[in-house]
């Protein structure tokens, strides 16, 4: 599938994969002397699950941070929905319809699960300052409508019983799920997940894989995710980008990538020249 036709394809399991949603062209990102991402190009197509894999320190998170506007690359172009995206603040990128989760959970610990997820909908809420201060018509109506949307996500991720719990008191696995809920609340077109299953046991990983597949299937959300567990990656992703030392060393379907000699070497730790 490395060369998908412009009009898109239908996957073996019947999902529609469309044209290019996001395209990274020759991205280079440096931190002082460290080159975290070196001249990388790849695209993400509408409706697909795109994995980014690679050994520790390969530059995966840095790549995701470029997509989410957290870092601006020194070189290269970022294209989203057919337009070139200039340097942007992270909150401006959020308004374009890109949401994400973090490798080290970044929830609002002092707030309840419900408030955390409600915060994800802030770009959907338009009522002005005065309406909010007086809790008049528009503000209250909006609050209730958005609450109803958030409740759907809460049902979907099966976290009804912890709605009113402060996030700081939750165990790790549930926190990861709440973070996914908060990202979903924004109804993003592109969802970025940085190691959504890190530190989970087998059962939790299965749950999370199921949620990711369901999100993609039911809402048609395009997903780009970083994951270390090869089994999971091979199971759920449509296409895989492989990174090593900031470079792209492979790109294709899970089967294609698995057969790539350079990828095998990187994972087996063959010395670099």
């Amino acid at each position: 599938m490395a060369s998908v036709p412009e009009e898109g394809v239908v996957t073996p399991d019947g999902r529609q994969i469309g044209g290019v949603l996001m395209e990274m062209k020759n991205i280079t990102l440096r931190f002082g002397g460290v080159v975290a991402v070196k001249d990388i190009s790849f695209d993400i197509r509408k409706g697909e699950i795109r994995a980014i894999i690679g050994p520790n320190g390969a530059g995966k998170s840095s790549m995701l941070n470029v997509i989410s506007g957290f870092y601006n690359p020194q070189e290269g172009e970022v294209w989203f929905k057919g337009y070139r995206r200039g340097p942007m603040k992270p909150y401006e990128v959020a308004r374009l319809g890109i949401a994400r989760t973090f490798q080290n959970i970044a929830l609002f610990d002092g707030m309840t699960v419900l408030d955390n997820i409600m915060t994800g909908r802030l770009n959907k809420m338009r009522s002005g300052f005065l309406a909010q201060a007086l809790w008049w018509g528009a503000a209250e109506r909006e609050e209730i409508e958005n609450r109803a949307q958030v409740e759907k996500i809460i049902d979907f991720l099966e976290i009804q019983n912890i709605r009113k719990t402060p996030v700081g008191r939750l165990p790790y696995g549930l926190k990861k799920r709440v973070e996914l809920a908060r990202a979903l609340a924004a109804e993003p077109q592109l969802l970025l997940l940085d190691e959504p299953m890190a530190g989970m046991n087998v059962e939790e990983k299965e749950d999370m894989s199921r949620f990711i597949l369901d999100v993609n299937d039911e809402f048609g959300t395009t997903i780009a995710l970083i994951e270390h567990d090869m089994g999971v990656v091979m199971d759920i992703s449509d296409r895989v980008v492989v990174m090593d030392y900031g470079r792209k060393i492979g790109d294709g379907t899970p089967a294609e990538v698995r057969g790539n000699q350079e990828v095998i070497d990187a994972y087996l730790g063959v010395a670099h020249d």
Binding site: K89, Y91, F102, G120, L122, Q132, L134
Partner: protein, 358 residues
């Protein structure tokens, strides 16, 4: 088993989001309002107004203001005294320049002036955090006191350097000046405290409140999900300063009647209000009232008990007060950052389950 939520089912998100979801709490709230508006004004005397109720209401407004900034938005400020001074001097200049305009309008305008000044001094918060921001607001505190001392225009070139509130009426009753009565002073402060508490509650339960708390808890994640840090921080500074400005205006015009800036609005005021929100509870409107009540009542109680009943010397009682406040601050900072409000909630939780805790 009377205090409970069982059987008090919520059938919609509207009811679930209301301020007092438990029936008994709602009744208690209406009861307090009925007493505050319907009974106290008829029985209040000068002693109760000036020793307890009027300062309590004014400090509750200031504490709500600081709580919005520090408790909700996570931006530490030691400039409260200075911002109260802005409110006081603004209302003084307005009262004397436009004697025919209603005092309530002047107090609100003083709030807006303070909101603007607060926003200016809030600008550094976009770059610096925590300890460094606290130091920057401390600089604001000293600068503002210095300014009001140094520029005679602010105190209308009065020989003493003091500002003195002329008499102004609201609905025919004098609320400022020497002729104002205890019920009138009490009611105008109560009116402001009530309306501002309601506004604060609405702002903090809605999306603006969530943006503030998001910035407080993790500013990077907040920005990634779409919070503009500039807007969130500056709105917190503006709204917080509005409350504090109104409190400063009331403190000067209604309560003190005359003020000298260093004495009335010095760094001690900043710490007093900060201690109120630490003891009352960070991030809680109720806690702002509880903390203000506590720190206003404590010296009165100690004085009556130790000096009045036990015959201790006054300075010893004052020292004891400092020690108690100090110990409480340490206790709440270490053990319960959510203060009295949280202890109250825990007590209610126990009550809710009593007598069957499991």
């Amino acid at each position: 088993m009377i205090y409970r939520e069982a059987g008090d089912f919520k059938t919609g998100y509207r009811e679930d989001g209301q301020t007092f979801p438990i029936k008994l709490d709602r009744w208690a709230y209406y009861g307090v309002l009925a007493v505050a508006f319907g009974i106290i004004p008829f029985v209040i005397n000068d002693y109760w107004a000036s020793a307890v109720l009027v300062p309590f209401l004014i400090y509750a407004i200031a504490a709500m203001g600081l709580n919005i900034l520090t408790g909700y938005a996570g931006q530490v400020s030691l400039g409260t005294g200075g911002f109260m001074a802005v409110g006081a001097y603004a209302v003084y200049k307005l009262m004397t320049a436009f004697p025919d305009v209603n005092i309530v309008i002047h107090i609100l305008l003083a709030g807006f002036v303070t909101a603007f000044v607060g926003m200016l001094f809030g600008l550094p918060s976009l770059r610096i955090k925590g300890f460094y921001l606290a130091v920057a607001t401390l600089a604001a505190q000293f600068f503002l006191v210095w300014l009001f001392n140094k520029v005679p225009w602010f105190y209308n070139y009065s020989a003493s350097g003091q500002i003195t509130a002329p008499e102004r009426t609201f609905l025919g009753e004098a609320v400022t000046g020497p002729a104002s009565s205890a019920p009138a002073k009490y009611l105008i402060c109560l009116g402001f405290a009530f309306v501002l508490a309601w506004l604060a509650r609405n702002l903090t339960r809605g999306m603006l409140g969530r943006k503030w708390m998001a910035i407080r808890d993790m500013d990077i994640a907040a920005e990634i999900i779409g919070v503009n840090p500039l807007g969130a921080k500056l709105s917190a500074f503006a709204i917080s300063s509005f409350f504090i400005g109104v409190a400063g205006a009331l403190l000067f015009a209604v309560y003190l009647g005359a003020a000298e800036v260093g004495e009335a609005f010095g760094i001690n005021k900043s710490f007093l209000v900060l201690f109120m929100i630490i003891i009352g509870g960070l991030g809680s409107i109720f806690g702002s009232f509880a903390g203000a009540a506590f720190l206003v009542l404590l010296p009165v109680l100690l004085k009556n008990l130790l000096v009045g009943s036990l015959g201790w010397p006054t300075d010893l009682a004052a020292h004891l007060e400092l020690m108690i406040v100090g110990a409480l601050i340490v206790f709440f900072l270490i053990v319960e950052p959510h203060g009295l409000a949280r202890l109250w909630a825990l007590a209610k939780d126990k009550l809710r389950l009593w007598p069957f805790p499991h």
